[in-house]
């Protein structure tokens, strides 16, 4: 294979040639049904699970000591908790984009990556949820602040606040994503049920499949529901990061109060999400021998989406600076000057380097087709997107209208342990997912195999 000439991945087939219904099923199902768990799985899982313990440690510390163990204080009352929340929620967006929007656009290549991208969405939202849940230090209070339920105090949430909109957007997003994911899994659960050698596993997958038997009448309703879910998830995913951006844009602070925020946040979310999908897909396909399904064409397409959304994000940065100048508001001008050359200036320029300069190397086919470089760039983008949220949140808060109330912010060791812990939690969930559920949708892969489609003839 090493001597084959360079082929442009853009013209390659979505699935490597030679596959049949049987080989696709067996290849994907064997990862889940294999009796022996590969050693590298145990190793990776142990490391991820170990890191995830930091979440528990941090939460225990938080509940005993209160949020004093974090770096947030006046004037920076929003720190790592909201930075990490927005970062994780953003990462989740690529999963829904791949599963819903690319389905509606009939982008068949999405089929190989939608299942694990959806899993990534769910796990990223689960990580994101930790922060708003615990950011008060008194999570039990959050119940009546956030959720409209008839409590003994007769209190209701303030529906005029974007923070409540956020609760509705994120919980809806998590619920709909979970349902979408599960519906996609039902036929694959049936396959695992029929293929499992172990009685117990056959029963577990059987219950999960709800007795799915692949009836044409069932597929008929199923296809309709699946398409409707995609149609509903599309406006939903756009609304989620829009509402997240409202948390900032509805405020009056310079640097937050900007109309560009919703589209700029949505593009940033997709950008970060595709970076994470690449970060996961590149090792996954080589560890489990899935290069026939997640081909170089997939990586190439994802790199292009990442580059395009990266350019939208770069436009957002340019517009932020332009708005500050064009507004002729001294507060806005000061904000952008402080952001670029103030005490956090190094973070701003690091963000520009990670999010604007680095991804532009993907214009060169040679670099884009280098798996190692793509993997590196996807990590750089993840770092850049985290820096972006840090810069937006901290630089606007730390020096507001009144110089007497200025201050500096820095995350404490507990801020970092919570953040690193959720990365461990995310990886733990990914490891469990790859071991117990089919990482690629088997029934959807079959629909795109040559010979799968039957022409309808009327008459």
């Amino acid at each position: 294979m090493a001597s084959t000439p360079h082929v442009d991945p853009a013209s390659a087939p979505i699935i490597a040639p030679g596959h049949t219904f049987r080989t696709v099923t067996d290849k994907i199902a064997s990862i889940v049904l294999a009796r022996r768990t590969p050693l590298h799985w145990f190793l990776g899982f142990a490391i991820a699970f170990g890191i995830a313990q930091l979440v528990l440690l941090t939460i225990v510390r938080l509940l005993f000591w209160g949020i004093g163990s974090w770096g947030v204080t006046v004037p920076v009352g929003w720190g790592f908790d909201i930075i990490n929340f927005v970062w994780w929620i953003g990462i989740g967006h690529a999963g829904t984009l791949i599963s819903a929007i690319l389905l509606l656009l009939k982008q068949e290549w999405r089929t190989s990556i939608n299942r694990f991208a959806e899993a990534m969405t769910l796990f990223a939202v689960a990580c994101a949820a930790q922060y708003p849940l615990f950011h008060t230090g008194r999570p039990w209070i959050a119940a009546y602040w956030l959720l409209p339920y008839p409590n003994t105090m007769g209190l209701w949430p303030n529906f005029r606040s974007p923070l409540i909109w956020d609760v509705f957007a994120v919980t809806t997003y998590a619920s709909v994503s979970a349902v979408f994911w599960y519906v996609g899994l039902i036929p694959d659960f049936a396959t695992l049920r029929d293929r499992a050698k172990n009685k117990l596993m056959a029963m577990v997958y059987g219950v999960a499949s709800m007795g799915w038997r692949g009836s044409a009448r069932h597929w008929h309703n199923y296809e309709s529901a699946y398409l409707l879910l995609a149609g509903l998830a599309t406006p939903l995913v756009v609304s989620v990061h829009t509402v997240v951006s409202f948390d900032f844009a509805v405020g009056v602070l310079p640097g937050w109060h900007a109309t560009i925020f919703p589209p700029y946040f949505v593009a940033g979310a997709i950008y970060a999400g595709f970076a994470m999908v690449l970060t996961l897909a590149i090792p996954l396909r080589s560890w489990y021998g899935l290069k026939d399904f997640i081909t170089d064409r997939h990586l190439d397409n994802m790199a292009k989406v990442m580059l395009a959304t990266g350019l939208v994000v770069a436009y957002g940065y340019a517009m932020e600076a332009f708005f500050a100048w064009y507004s002729a508001s001294s507060w806005e001008l000061f904000m952008i000057q402080n952001r670029m050359f103030g005490p956090y200036g190094h973070m701003y320029w690091a963000l520009i380097l990670c999010n604007v300069v680095a991804p532009n190397t993907l214009w060169w086919p040679r670099l884009r087709h280098s798996t190692a470089w793509l993997f590196f760039i996807s990590l750089v983008v993840s770092v850049g997107m985290w820096l972006e949220r840090y810069v937006i949140i901290v630089t606007s808060l730390h020096r507001d209208f009144l110089p007497s109330s200025w201050g500096m912010y820095q995350g404490t060791v507990w801020d970092w342990s919570f953040f690193i812990g959720t990365i461990g939690l995310f990886l733990t969930l990914m490891y469990l997912f790859v071991r117990f559920l089919p990482a690629i949708s088997m029934f959807e892969m079959k629909t795109i195999l040559p010979g799968a489609r039957v022409e309808e003839h009327h008459g």
Partner: protein, 177 residues
């Protein structure tokens, strides 16, 4: 009346099952179902399945979600506990749009899924087709057409001969109830 659930023909090729389903419908069979490892639009066409009702259920769920979401906000902010927050009107309809938008999608999505499951009669712990050992292939790479005993034209011998005569048929099995 036979004690069987029906007769099931097995096919290796999606085209063959579609053609067999079409032939069975032409022959006058109505109580039948086809099984495939992935959705085949032509198969729904061949069986002349009526339009799915999932979309209507989804629409009804969405409208309910919109009314319920907006109604909750109106009732709690205007009727149950009106509170002056920053001088904004009790009925701040613009601010009520995002949560109502989300509840619309939430209820529509859940209605679509629960509606789909209900119309399909799932979850279903038992079904006779699983009594055919080869049926395990229906979730892998095999295609099946089952003519059920309830069909008025059903006759074990004649139906078996009809199914066995279909091009591309691999086997015909009796489905125990």
């Amino acid at each position: 009346m036979s004690a069987l659930h029906g007769l099931m023909a097995e096919f290796d090729d999606p085209k063959a099952v579609v053609e067999a389903a079409e032939a069975a419908r032409m022959a006058g069979y109505r109580k039948m179902d086809a099984y495939s490892p992935y959705p085949i639009e032509a198969l729904s066409e061949a069986l002349a399945l009526p339009k799915s009702h999932v979309a209507k259920i989804c629409l009804a769920g969405g409208i309910f979600g919109l009314v319920a979401g907006y109604g909750l906000q109106y009732w709690s902010s205007v009727i149950e506990y009106p509170m002056n927050i920053g001088g904004r009107p009790f009925h701040s309809w613009v601010a009520f749009i995002p949560p109502a938008y989300e509840t619309t999608i939430l209820f529509a999505a859940f209605s679509a899924v629960l509606g789909m499951l209900a119309l399909n009669g799932l979850p279903q712990p038992y079904h006779p087709v699983f009594n055919v050992p080869a049926f395990a292939g229906a979730s892998r790479d095999k295609f099946f057409l089952c003519i059920e005993a309830e069909d008025p034209l059903f006759d074990v011998e004649k139906t078996r001969a009809f199914l066995a005569a279909q091009p591309g048929v691999a086997a015909v099995a009796e489905v125990q109830p």
